[in-house]
């Protein structure tokens, strides 16, 4: 009798059972859920109407999904990059998003039926105008700049922005990419594992320019009222980057998962992106963008490889890069 009472008390104390709300499990990258990322606002926004409990699970999203296979608990993955969609698609674990992607606010056309963009930006080299008075005005000028102009980049084998640079150079220079890398290599102060180490070195004044995103100056303007950080806009074009969400085919909450996918492109969700994710919203009329995003200088040309092209170019482009830096 007492044992029964104890069991009941334990059951009542356990919050998951007490609330009895369905749980939507979202696998996401680490930065998403930090209090400075978009996660908390997304969770709050969705829970306001879904009558459910949105649970972020952070970590290495895709490796984990691939290892878990069909047994995964995830209902949604959030924050995949275009570099991994080919492998993610090949796993057959994902279901179509069911959204109309014909009038997105993206600089490219989006026709993927599985992976849905929720933000975007482009690769760019950021500089501080008080330290670099004459920044290169084009990619060609950057390559021809004196070697004491120092830049920091990220390793394409460890970082998505590093891989984007690889594809950027490939798309601008094609077969001439090895020569371009040979010119760029002496200016590369160092190659870091991730974006944050590079960016920290740049803000510390170690490097004159850093490989980052066209949207990076927005943070400095909006959060620090610092107008000195600028993206060098190149007429050759900038490489497109986007972060994607997808729902699992094996979800045990198909209606909730679909509701989440339906919500991503609504203004309610998209308004969170610019100032929490420091990137452009995927579908939002420009009039609804924060002023700081509207004022950012835009490249005239956006470069992008399709998934298959990028996958085919990945290894050869990496070999070119490795050779240039091993001279």
């Amino acid at each position: 009798m007492r044992l029964q009472a104890l069991t009941l008390a334990l059951l009542a104390a356990s919050p998951g059972l007490a609330e009895d709300k369905p749980v939507l499990t979202v696998y996401a990258g680490d930065y998403v859920t930090s209090e400075w990322g978009p996660g908390p606002k997304i969770e709050e926004g969705f829970e306001a109407f879904c009558n459910c409990d949105l649970k972020f699970v952070t970590g290495d999203v895709l490796p984990r999904i691939l290892m878990e296979g069909e047994g995964t608990e995830a209902d949604i993955v959030f924050g995949l990059n275009t570099d991994v969609t080919a492998r993610a698609r090949a796993s057959g674990l994902f279901a179509p998003h069911g959204q109309d992607t014909s009038d997105m606010s993206l600089p490219i056309e989006w026709t993927d039926e599985i992976f849905l963009p929720y933000n975007w930006g482009e690769t760019a080299f950021i500089y501080d105008e008080t330290r670099l008075e004459n920044p290169p005005a084009s990619f060609a000028e950057l390559l021809d700049a004196p070697d004491d102009l120092k830049i920091v980049i990220q390793d394409p084998r460890a970082s998505i922005s590093g891989l984007a640079l690889l594809l950027w150079v490939k798309e601008v220079y094609g077969d001439q990419a090895p020569e371009a890398w040979a010119k760029l290599a002496p200016k590369v102060l160092t190659v870091t594992k991730g974006w944050s180490e590079s960016y920290g070195m740049f803000t510390d004044g170690e490097a004159d320019m850093v490989l980052s995103y066209t949207t990076s100056p927005a943070y400095h303007i909006a959060a620090e009222e610092d107008l000195t950080k600028k993206a060098a806009i190149f007429p050759e074009g900038h490489y497109f980057m986007t972060e994607l969400a997808a729902q699992l085919r094996t979800t045990d909450q198909p209606e909730l998962a679909q509701a989440f996918m339906d919500w991503i492109l609504t203004p309610d969700f998209q308004k969170v992106i610019p100032l929490a994710n420091w990137s452009m919203p995927a579908k939002l009329p420009q009039a609804d963008w924060p002023q700081v995003m509207r004022d950012l200088p835009r490249p005239e040309k956006t470069l992008f490889y399709t998934e298959d092209e990028a996958e085919a170019l990945r290894q050869p482009a990496l070999d070119e890069w490795l050779r240039a830096f091993s001279q």
Binding site: T33, D60, T190, S196, E206, A207
Partner: protein, 514 residues
């Protein structure tokens, strides 16, 4: 007969811990290979990474060990105010979280660093930290403290009676070197070299950030690439296997070179030696000063920059700090227990296998270990509930080799000097532990516990696959950096550094006072 049974029973603990370690490290590797359905071959870039890894680890280890000798000797034979504090402080870089150390080194040796500012002011050419020289510099920065500590312990393990005897025989410094110091170094240096070599073998972030490009690719980075870029688990497992093979080769080499010194027991009388006079006083001062400047300046630079912003850190950074401290303390307790069991067992049985198992965590790739554990534990419990316990256990295991390097020699001396006496008194079990083992080994135990606590504190989490909604302090640091908040990140770095040092100091000091 009865004694034999007791011996077997007493050795059971060490053997079991060693077997569990080997099973964990080789088992996780096997799990990764199994998931990949076999090992895959390596490309030319992988082999370049293997060669670079070997080359830089050998150079870093040799430099660290060589440079540590004059510093350790000076610290061993000189007494001056603040010496104890300096010895503790000089140990600090070894337990510095990698990201903080890199920040510090860059602010001193970087392009915009203090040193280059000075060079520019005097019209001298600038130096660059980016390249293989930066990798070596950082590795010496990290490992000189460890080398100095281990060699200093070697010096202190020579009973002061021997030095007094040498003085009464009117030994010149050269004679002391020949009869006392060189035999001690012969016994200690191979272990020191090996420890540093193994640490540098699995280096990842240092080589990547300061290496200046893919020429400085290490095996651990190649493993990371195999996981993240290619999702080629077979190649990751193959590289992990190579890393372990390199470790075992280096260990047998060091075993073959090392010859144990036999100084016998002393009476633990405080030594009141003044050390040789004359020019040696100047070189000793120089050695201590240079080491102090090299090791302390980068940390000072980080502190100066981050300290003012600490009060402005958001509240959940403090929550993360508290969580990390609790995890570090549990890790340290676990590490002390495991390393004590192993060290006593090694001292009793002279088992090379147990000693080798104790060193294995040093070369296990954290990435392979984490992924292997994930594969093995998948389906048993919710990964979320495993995140913190697994992190604590892995941190304790990762710290074992360092604790063992200090504990094994001390346990051997204890066995050689007091073992027979204790046996003849039939002092066994808890009584022996309380009256003999713990008091005699208090110093290395404190050192081992301090290292384990500090290393656990600074660890970013070897197990990124195990998700957690309870971030640790190093993870918060990265989240701040990833959200452009570099100034807050540098304040967080100071906090992380301060807590790591405080934990180490508490254990180490406790051990020395006991």
């Amino acid at each position: 007969m009865a004694a034999g049974i007791f011996a077997i029973r007493r050795d059971w603990g060490g053997g079991a811990v060693a077997a569990a370690l080997a099973a964990l490290i080789l088992g996780t590797l096997a799990a990764v290979a199994w998931q990949a359905r076999g090992l895959s071959g390596l490309g030319p870039w992988d082999w370049r990474a293997v060669w670079f890894t070997l080359w830089q680890a050998m150079l870093s280890a040799s430099l660290s060990a060589l440079l540590a000798i004059p510093v350790a000797r000076a610290l061993a034979r000189r007494r001056f105010p603040g010496r104890a504090l300096l010895v503790t402080l000089l140990g600090a870089p070894f337990i510095l979280p990698v990201i903080v150390a890199i920040m510090g080194l860059i602010s001193v040796f970087g392009r915009n660093g203090v040193l280059n500012d000075a060079f520019r002011a005097f019209g001298l050419p600038e130096i660059t930290i980016y390249g293989w020289q930066g990798v070596i510099l950082a590795h010496v920065f990290f490992n000189l403290p460890l080398s100095v500590r281990l060699i200093l312990q070697g010096w202190q393990s020579i009973p002061s009676e021997r030095f007094r005897l040498a003085a009464s025989l009117d030994f010149a410094p050269a004679d002391i070197a020949r009869h006392l110091e060189r035999p001690m170094l012969r016994a200690v240096l191979p272990g020191v070299w090996l420890a540093v070599f193994l640490v540098c073998l699995t280096s990842f972030a240092v080589a990547l950030t300061l290496g200046g490009g893919p020429r400085a690719t290490t095996v651990e980075l190649a493993i990371y690439q195999a996981f993240r870029f290619d999702f080629d688990l077979g190649r990751a497992a193959m590289l992990g296997l190579i890393q372990i093979a390199l470790c075992l080769a280096a260990m047998s080499l060091a075993r073959w070179i090392a010859i144990p010194a036999a100084f016998g027991a002393g009476l633990d009388q405080p030594d009141q030696l003044t050390g040789p006079r004359g020019w040696r006083r100047i070189t000793d001062t120089l050695a201590i000063t240079l080491a102090a400047v090299f090791l302390l300046w980068p940390m000072l630079a980080v502190t100066m920059r981050g300290l003012p912003r600490i009060p402005a850190l958001p509240a959940d950074v403090w929550d993360a700090a508290l969580r990390s401290v609790v995890m570090a303390l549990i890790s340290a307790a676990l590490a002390i227990t495991l390393s004590l069991v192993l060290a006593l067992s090694v001292a009793r049985s002279k088992s090379r296998l147990i000693e080798a198992a104790g060193m294995l965590p040093l070369v296990a790739s954290p990435l392979v270990l984490g992924t292997g554990l994930f594969i093995l534990l998948r389906g048993t419990l919710a990964p979320q509930s495993l995140a913190l316990p697994v992190t604590i256990a892995i941190n304790a295991i990762m710290a074992l080799p360092f604790g063992l390097r200090a504990l094994i020699p001390a346990a051997r001396d204890l066995r050689a000097d007091y073992g027979r006496l204790a046996d003849s008194l039939d002092m066994q079990g808890l009584a022996r532990l309380r009256l003999l083992t713990l008091p005699r080994l208090a110093r290395p135990i404190g050192f081992a516990g301090g290292l384990a606590a500090a290393l656990a504190m600074g660890d970013l989490g070897v197990i990124t696959l195990f998700p957690s909604d309870q971030p640790t302090l190093p993870l918060k640091l990265y989240q701040l950096m990833n959200s452009y908040r570099m100034a807050d990140a540098s304040a967080c770095a100071v906090l992380l550094m301060a807590i790591s040092f405080a934990l180490f100091w508490l254990f180490d000091r406790g051990g020395r006072l006991a």
